[in-house]
Symmetry: C2
Subunit: 361 residues, 2 copies
Amino acid sequence: MKYRDLLNGVSDVELLSMGEGTTPLVKSRRIGFSLGLSNLYFKLESLNPTGSYKDRFGALAISGLLATNAKFCLATSSGNTGASLAAYSALAGIPCHIVVVDGAPAGKLKQMQAYGAHLWMLRDFGIDESVTQRAFEGLQRMAIDFKTSVQISAFAYSPFGMQGVRSIAYEIAEEQPGVQHVFVPAGGGGLTLAVVQGFKQWSDQNSNFQMPQVHCVQPEGNDTIASSLRNGAPRCQAIPVSTTSISGLQVPSVIDGDQVLKTCSLHGGNGYVVTDHDVLELQRQLALSEGIFCEPAAAVALAGAHKALQNAEIKNDDLVVCLVTGHGFKDPKATEKIIEGNPLKHIVKLEELKSNLNESN
Amino acid sequence: MKYRDLLNGVSDVELLSMGEGTTPLVKSRRIGFSLGLSNLYFKLESLNPTGSYKDRFGALAISGLLATNAKFCLATSSGNTGASLAAYSALAGIPCHIVVVDGAPAGKLKQMQAYGAHLWMLRDFGIDESVTQRAFEGLQRMAIDFKTSVQISAFAYSPFGMQGVRSIAYEIAEEQPGVQHVFVPAGGGGLTLAVVQGFKQWSDQNSNFQMPQVHCVQPEGNDTIASSLRNGAPRCQAIPVSTTSISGLQVPSVIDGDQVLKTCSLHGGNGYVVTDHDVLELQRQLALSEGIFCEPAAAVALAGAHKALQNAEIKNDDLVVCLVTGHGFKDPKATEKIIEGNPLKHIVKLEELKSNLNESN
């Protein structure tokens, strides 16, 4: 691992790797200009081994389990975290048991199953707040009994693994040291927190490096952190139920939110609330006019950057990075929406194609 | 592009990029040892932007079209080539028309459609040899009329784009200069040819570098090149119809095969024929015991390496690289087979999980 000396407690741990991290940071060629941003970059976390940034967490989380001689991984997930933990458990050669959100999409479950994970769909888990809370507590007790620890991708639960996520910031800082704004999608806020912490570490070690502003973007149906950050509130607000349709960002509890408030605001970071409609439209545009096929949650950062520009809170030529957190293949249902209106055409002769080209050219 | 000076005719071409290439070369942690190979590496081409090595082709192919002011891309595909050309056409801002194989899997078509490509499914194309041949010829005439060129991922048709694929070899040579054997899956042979050419270029420019042996692996239902290479035959053999089930390797015509014969044999490369059964079993094992979720065609190279070891044509501790050409998400039907026997379990209380853990630990 390239940035090993920036991580705590890993000096005597065998670090598992299957090529996570060192993802491309690509300059927008078209969509930035159409939105009015001439210096826009995408960090393609979707190109990690299991298709999301969670591999930076999974690699370290399972390495940590191996180092403590845990016999298996015990985790909770609605999708991307589970795929990653399942993959690194396979690499480590230990079983992986995942309690999954009731009603989690089959596509995401199948990826976990392909890596051999054992999936347990607990009734009302992730839906009913009290069932969910009792399950978290029960799992933590169970983990102690079996000499393992529960893996949940949040600093509040799994700080050892979450340090791996900070490397996103190291890579951006190293490749684009003039970065001014970084937009990050948030559910429970762990990713945002990791990114700010990573830039802070980098800045502490590189005196010429100027901290960018890290902005937290949430869909309006899951505004637990963003408005609190914008309004300078002292604490985040849990919501009774998440109403966003954006898979992966339905996290009604605060989790890492209060830490996000504290650290983001120290360095000028702001909160942005965006609509599901705008997110889905930008997800479509990323595929159609930039060639970036991502899941809806991965377009949330761009929706935030667009809003910041509309609010005149960033300038046209500011160096802006948006995190693209997960690949389009994660959410086949969302893909069906993108391709509506672009049907496959059945033809019997090539001349039918030629006529069409003649008309359109 | 990192290796720009190794490519021909690109000095005044704007090179499109969305982070293709520079894929991880990871050392096997478990499956190598279980097969008897202690120095086995996987080149994860599955982590390219659209999920396959074809992005190295697509990036250059569409850059070339832009440089000639072509108004659109005209191509043929059964899957991965089309996804890549569609993505780079989106990035370039030009329409992409793809004539697709009759009966091509919906999953692969949807990825092309997500990038906005126009798909034309021509009756019997890719099935009936004469329909296919006439379509190729018709498309080439049509391309001239419209001042574009047909993009097919083979040196015989699209040599400009195919040079991009050689960078796989540059990267392996740079990272593991002691590489001894590289196993490559083949349909029409373009990938194998690109890899040998790439190592040859590298060796010409780096006098200390020793050319590895590049081996061509094919499923037995599409043995157009492999047996000819093994037997020292002067030419490849087209087959009336491909009978392998491995999507992407059903290419009954010779295409780049004769060039593969010539160049592979010059440097000690051999041919390996493997069964679909062995390929699918290794695809499953790659996910379950190495955490690498790939499409079936991407396990063909490993099946070849295993056979080479069984034949005593490579040694246990030889430095062996297998190309993993495409991601598991490309072929949802193959995934269903992997997960058979690992059902999702519905539970009402966490105690049901605990009982299971008590029994199994």
